[in-house]
């Protein structure tokens, strides 16, 4: 699988809705040099399922992870897929960036297309407070039930209550810092 094939297939399906498509390459190897390719693109949440289906038709599909960050009034999610594992040197990483407003943080779940995505979607619910429509199981996964905050959000006033000094000298250092200022 080459990045250009992936990109062409995505563009055929999504056309203009695939924004800022880009292929990043990296040369690797010493005696046998190769080009390693990564596809980056931005999409809207409504196009996510279609894009994932397109990838699935292209060949063996693996979801590595969904990463995310609180970007002010929006939450940015990045889906990292690997298309075409199993062929030597033939894997392409496809990264979709999508952002959702904080007052309506709902993204369609891709579990119906790729059931293996459930772990990472559940993780995003608890860490970033996004919702996935159609997710089969939205319970907490890693965080304790009594933790009421979404730790990766920057607008959580209560978060600092949970972050405590773990050793006594840290608190002392802070006091001194304040006195000195």
């Amino acid at each position: 699988m080459r990045a250009q094939e992936v990109l062409t297939a995505l563009q055929e399906k999504l056309g203009e809705r695939l924004r800022a498509p880009e292929v990043r390459t990296e040369a690797i190897g010493h005696k046998r040099t190769l080009e390693r390719e990564l596809v980056w693109a931005e999409i809207d949440r409504d196009d996510l399922l279609e894009a994932v289906r397109t990838l699935r038709e292209l060949g063996p599909l693996h979801i590595s992870i969904i990463s995310g960050v609180d970007a002010g009034d929006r939450i940015e999610l990045i889906y990292h897929f690997a298309v075409g594992y199993g062929t030597p040197d033939g894997e392409v990483m496809v990264n979709f960036r999508l952002s959702v407003p904080k007052n309506d943080p709902v993204v369609p779940s891709i579990c119906a297309v790729l059931p293996g995505a459930l772990t990472t979607e559940r993780e995003k619910i608890e860490f970033l407070g996004v919702q996935f429509s159609g997710i089969p199981d939205a319970r907490k996964l890693f965080l304790p039930d009594e933790l009421e905050v979404h730790p990766w959000r920057k607008d959580e006033p209560k978060l600092s209550d949970y972050v405590r000094y773990t050793v006594a000298w840290e608190a002392k250092k802070d006091e001194k810092g304040e006195a000195g200022a």
């Binding site: 693996h62 995310g68 690997a82």
Partner: protein
């Protein structure tokens, strides 16, 4: 092989138990890990001896590493990444340095790439041997546990010799490695590799030709190729189900393009792929041999030269401070794919985003079909068969000894051991557990 039940709603054990098995008993286990020392809670719904549904709740070991990581500078991040998991303690830093090198545009000298491969493969040998011992313990073969852990010590000595520590080696740094492997050390490495080669036959006869082990693992905890594919299994778990999925082959990095690694499945030993626990043993043994070969080739082919492009840490820090961009680093750890995503901003020492994925995170979903329709006594070995590393997955941690435990670890193990005894007297009434190859 049983048909895959992949409808998403089939995944939430609770719901399914109510729907399909109203007569089931609920058996919570944990938060102990029946295999290793880490906490994770399993809830099984059983009908007689058969498991009908399962629910798994991790989270006891969560330390919030990614959260801490966004408050530290990039060099501190290496130490933190190393301590995500003590067993695959070089895998996370190896993925992290790749991500940062990509984001900051740092070149790595070829010799450093080879040294990274050598350390990574030594770690694979130590980790697979560790697993083999734990698996033997789960089946009740403690002699084998002690034997395997004894032969594991030489690889730790080797790691200590080349890196300075038995665990948490602190070898990778952005732009290279921190310690060279000087040619005087090659003979020692080669001797140890020869020693491991000489043990391979023993391993095959102890693990693969033993009728009791075969009876306890054949057909147990199966994962079909379709399930492995759609649930995104990684590492030996995926390969044992016949998927040739190996980052060293599909997405080469470091010196792997030169070495042309091939993903191994049970077919490479002339066996039919069945995706059960036995196949997972086969794949790991094959990979130990593969790692020995790879290290030998690295020692032969390793070029002379620098081991880092930033001999002075101050220059490295200055470069990192200016760096801006994002990067993805992936590494095939002993248990499967590790991926790190990082985003850097100029004039900020800490990363803006740091996301870590450990192999057990991907192998979490495949646990569900594996447990289905298995016997209670098989729980320990099925749980252990993916080589779970809970603290890795959660980047956090927990313990056992909770009130909710209905079956204690010991009791569960006792069930497993009794089954082995039963099975052993059936398959080999007079055979001792010794070699018969």
């Amino acid at each position: 092989m049983k048909k895959a039940k992949l409808e998403p709603e089939g995944m939430a054990g609770e719901k399914r138990a109510g729907k399909t098995c109203p007569a089931c008993f609920e058996v919570p286990i944990g938060p102990i890990h029946p295999a290793l020392k880490e906490g994770i809670r399993f809830t099984f719904w059983v009908e007689g001896e058969r498991i009908r549904a399962v629910d798994i709740r991790p989270g006891f070991m969560h330390r919030g590493i990614e959260f801490m990581g966004t408050k530290r500078n990039l060099v501190q991040l290496i130490y933190l990444a190393e301590r995500i998991c003590g067993i695959c303690s070089v895998s996370h830093p190896l993925a992290l340095v790749q991500a940062v090198e990509q984001a900051a545009g740092i070149e790595v000298p070829p010799r450093a790439q080879y040294i990274r491969v050598i350390i990574g493969e030594l770690e694979r040998i130590h980790s697979h041997l560790l697993w083999a011992g734990v698996a033997a313990h789960e089946l009740g073969f403690d002699t084998l546990l002690h034997y395997v852990w004894k032969v594991r010590e030489p690889v730790l000595d080797l790691l200590e010799d080349v890196t300075g520590n038995r665990i948490n080696y602190a070898i990778p740094i952005y732009g290279g490695v921190r310690r060279d492997i000087p040619p005087e050390k090659y003979p020692k490495l080669k001797d140890a590799l020869r020693y491991y080669r000489s043990l391979v036959d023993d391993f095959v006869s102890f693990f693969l030709r033993d009728p009791s082990i075969e009876a306890r693992t054949r057909g147990v905890g199966p994962l079909s190729p379709e399930e492995a594919d759609s649930l995104c299994a990684v590492g030996p778990t995926a390969r044992a189900s016949g998927l040739r999925k190996d980052l060293r082959q599909d997405w080469p990095y470091f010196a792997y393009p030169d070495l042309e690694v091939k993903a191994l499945t049970p077919e490479d030993m002339g066996l039919e792929v069945r995706g059960d626990v036995y196949d997972r043993i086969v794949v790991r043994l094959l990979e130990v041999v593969q790692s020995i070969e790879l290290i030998e080739r690295c020692l032969e082919e390793m070029p002379e030269g620098e081991i880092t492009s930033f001999p002075k840490v101050a220059a490295l820090m200055a470069h990192l401070k200016k760096a801006e961009g994002e990067g993805i680093g992936r590494h095939e750890a002993p248990r499967g794919e590790v991926i790190h995503y990082i985003r850097l901003e100029a004039d900020r020492e800490a990363p803006v985003v740091w996301k870590v994925k450990a192999p057990t995170y991907s192998n979490f979903m495949p646990w569900f079909p594996m447990f289905e329709d298995q016997e209670i006594a098989d729980i320990p070995i099925v749980a252990a068969s993916i080589d779970p590393c809970i603290c890795c997955m959660e980047r956090v941690h927990i313990v056992r000894g909770d009130r909710e435990e209905v079956i204690w670890k010991e009791e569960l193990l006792r069930l497993s051991w009794e089954k082995t005894k039963r099975v052993a007297s059936r398959v080999a009434p007079h055979a001792s557990l010794g070699r018969k190859g």
